[in-house]
């Protein structure tokens, strides 16, 4: 089996598992307890907080543990909105291709009277700092722009966007769920006020993440209750998961340069190989691109059937087709970069990790063209394209 869906989730690393095991067994204390068992858990929590902070060049007090990327995104955006509201600022800037954890939170705020402006991302799938500058108004309370896109892999100019926000005095949040552990992050150098990350995207456990909030920015709790996380997130901490996240992040960051180099080489082979399939197109920024992301549209076929046939060949991938999302529309990300519906349905995302091998890439490159060809042979759309009844888009 070849796992090429690491943007969806990753395998827990041995390092993370080893770090977690003691807290799933003997170290079961509640960090809020005064006794020694509880205090051992509290120390583990503190040490995890220091490790996560160090990976971001933040201070430990600026790290808030959450249940994952979605919660971190929700909390960052809602907190910024509450701050803005108090000052009568109700304008928020974001992009058209954010994750739903961001977009749906913004929609909720829209219903509460906020004005949300989604910047277009162009055909490459990125925004530039000047777009953000031009959109900022007197009443802008937040700019939230993702660090890297989960579907098409574009890496955005976060440091530049952050600099514009600093200059204009506007809060800046970035959803770095696809970036953390994969790209260098330095919240100070990159002018980031708030940042979301999620452990299961860098070989940590699922259901745990973190929100970095720069000192001095008041955070609104989403969950009320005890005084955990200094009153910003109630509920007994998931100690094993948090410890596993810290171990996974530390490991990923330590090996980041080396891993990125290896993955980029494999990624570029995949891109070059798949580009040979006629009437196909790469989605996302070809240059500023996540080391593991490959995303193509193949004209004349539909993505779900492509995934099923790949799965039958032992290749796990994903697609932005409507059929895979359970909705009528294909991925909003592909639509945002201007892919028409009929082409967006035929998309394939392969996302690699450091465990993928040269043999696996070779195998994917032998099987995928055959599968695309097979589906095209069944496709009335393809036949119409071939006999000129329909115009090729790609």
């Amino acid at each position: 089996m070849i796992y090429a869906d690491n943007a969806a989730t990753t395998k827990l690393s041995q390092t993370a598992l080893n770090a977690m095991l003691p807290y799933l067994t003997e170290g079961y204390g509640n960090p809020s307890s005064l006794h020694s068992v509880g205090q051992a858990a509290a120390e583990a929590l503190q040490s995890a907080r220091e490790d996560v902070a160090a990976c971001l060049n933040a201070s430990p007090r600026e790290i808030l543990f959450t249940s994952g990327g979605s919660e971190a995104d929700n909390q960052a955006i809602l907190s910024a909105a509450r701050i803005g509201e108090r000052k009568g600022k109700k304008h928020i800037i974001s992009t058209a291709f954010e994750h739903h954890a961001v977009l749906h939170t913004l929609q909720k705020l829209q219903k509460q009277g906020f004005e949300v402006e989604l910047l277009p991302v162009g055909s490459v799938g990125t925004v530039i700092a000047e777009q953000v500058r031009a959109a900022i108004r007197e009443d802008t309370c937040l700019v939230t722009v993702m660090f890297a896109n989960n579907e098409i892999g574009s890496i955005l100019p976060i440091a530049e966007i952050g600099a514009v926000c600093r200059e204009k005095g506007v809060l800046f949040h970035t959803d770095a769920v696809q970036a953390a552990g994969h790209l260098p992050i330095d919240v100070q150098a990159q002018n980031i006020d708030m940042l979301s990350l999620s452990a299961h995207k860098f070989h940590g456990p699922k259901g745990v993440g973190a929100l970095y909030v720069k000192t001095g920015i008041p955070v609104t709790p989403l969950i009320e209750g005890g005084a955990q996380e200094r009153g910003k997130r109630a509920g007994t901490e998931n100690v094993p998961a948090i410890v596993g996240m810290a171990a996974a992040l530390k490991e990923a960051v330590a090996n980041l340069g080396e891993t990125a180099k290896k993955m980029t080489a494999l990624r570029d082979q995949l891109i070059a190989g798949l580009a040979k399939i006629p009437h196909s197109a790469l989605n996302g920024d070809p240059v500023n691109r996540l080391p593991g992301n490959v995303n193509f549209c193949f004209e004349g076929i539909e993505g779900e059937s492509l995934l099923l046939l790949l799965d039958a060949k032992g290749i796990c991938a994903s697609s932005g087709s409507a059929c895979t999302s359970g909705s009528l529309d294909p991925s909003h990300v592909l639509l945002a970069i201007g892919r028409p519906h009929e082409v967006a349905h035929g998309s394939l995302r392969l996302s690699l990790c450091e465990a993928n091998t040269q043999e696996e890439i070779d195998y994917i490159l032998t099987e995928t063209p055959k599968i695309v060809e097979r589906l095209r042979s069944l496709s009335p759309v393809w036949h119409d394209l071939m006999n000129g009844k329909r115009q090729f888009i790609l």
């Binding site: 099923l308 087709s321 409507a322 028409p340 519906h341 349905h345 069944l378 496709s379 009335p380």
Partner: protein, 144 residues
């Protein structure tokens, strides 16, 4: 993937009666590429009996399986028997479909009807037009 039954996977992996047909007596095409599903059904009809069927489908696994099973259900049947095939029977023949994929079975039913309608039109055979709703009013694509 356990999303689909074994029968669905069998029809998807080994589709029956797939391809284009030379000089069909009736052709029907339903759905649209925008929604992500198009089914095309070709019929060969002799003495009111469907002697051969072929299909082509652009769509997900359940769309391909639905059209494949539908061709098996109408091959050798009279035109009237083919018209009586419902999407429910298609679903049953597949051993079930996930709720959000039921529209694929509707498209299979519609593609048969559309091909028969084309046969009627080409041969000047009278029929009740209300039995053949057009694609726009069918709403099957909206069934998600």
């Amino acid at each position: 993937m356990a999303l689909y039954t074994e029968t669905v996977m069998d029809h998807f992996m080994n589709p029956r009666n797939v391809g284009e047909m030379e000089n069909p007596d009736g052709v029907g095409e339903v759905g649209n590429a925008k929604c992500g599903d198009i089914m095309k059904m070709y019929l060969k009809i002799e003495n009111n009996v469907i002697t051969d069927v072929k299909f082509e489908t652009f769509g997900c696994g359940s769309a391909i399986a639905s059209s494949s099973v539908a061709t098996e259900m109408i091959k050798g049947k009279t035109v009237e028997e083919a018209l009586a095939v419902t999407n429910k029977q298609v679903v049953e023949a597949l051993g079930g479909l996930p709720a959000h994929k039921l529209h694929c079975s509707v498209l299979a039913e519609e593609s048969i009807k559309s091909a028969v309608k084309d046969y009627y039109d080409k041969n000047g055979i009278e029929y009740d037009h209300s039995l053949f709703p057009d694609c726009e009013s069918c709403e099957a694509c909206r069934m998600v």
